[in-house]
């Protein structure tokens, strides 16, 4: 069964991430927070497409649902400073 930890590994292998946290323990439904410098200057659609591309065929075959929040390092820092 696919674990949240494995999913983190799959994503970070193909996408440079400053921070990543994937949650989900049923093997098919996951929630992720992903911070990557690659997201800078891109629309949310493009940001999510980068994550999907990093997962490749796994997105079709193994993962039923991946809910994600994508953030640039700058946006991530702002959230942390306010938190």
């Amino acid at each position: 069964m696919l674990s949240a930890q494995q999913l983190e590994t799959y994503i970070t292998q193909n996408l440079a991430c400053d921070y990543i946290k994937v949650l989900g323990d049923d093997g098919t439904h996951f929630e992720a927070v992903i911070v990557s410098p690659e997201f800078v200057g891109k629309t949310m659609v493009k940001q999510h497409q980068l994550v999907y591309a990093a997962l490749g065929d796994r997105m079709r075959a193994e993962i039923h649902a991946l809910s994600m929040k994508t953030l640039t390092p700058e946006a991530w820092q702002k959230i942390n400073n306010n938190g």
Partner: protein, 103 residues
């Protein structure tokens, strides 16, 4: 008509189109349900297309926008996003602005 041409026709001849699993009355997936709830809250008329009813559309829509998941929202022929993006844009008010421009 091939599937890609059919999808193009659907999204360009209707101002707001939601590709979803199930129907707005009986959504078959939590994410599709969320998408219908958001559109309902925006008080907008839209065309809902049940991808579970047509295998060609179900696979074809993933290629159309290079987006591997469902639901998918289109406004004025443009791909807007899946349920995460719909939620973020709803919360920021951006979605309502975009929808108002279709009236």
């Amino acid at each position: 008509m091939d599937t890609q041409a059919l999808i193009k026709q659907q999204v360009t001849s209707n101002p707001v189109v939601l590709y979803m699993k199930g129907t707005p009355k009986f959504p078959q997936c939590g994410f599709s349900n969320l998408a219908t709830q958001i559109l309902k809250a925006c008080n907008v008329d839209y065309l809902a297309i049940d991808v579970l009813a047509d295998q060609n559309i179900r696979e074809g829509i993933k290629a159309y926008a290079n987006w591997p998941t469902i639901p998918q929202l289109y406004i004025n022929g443009e791909f807007v996003g899946g349920s995460d993006i719909m939620r973020a844009m709803y919360e920021s008010g951006e979605l309502q602005t975009l929808l108002n421009a279709t009236n």
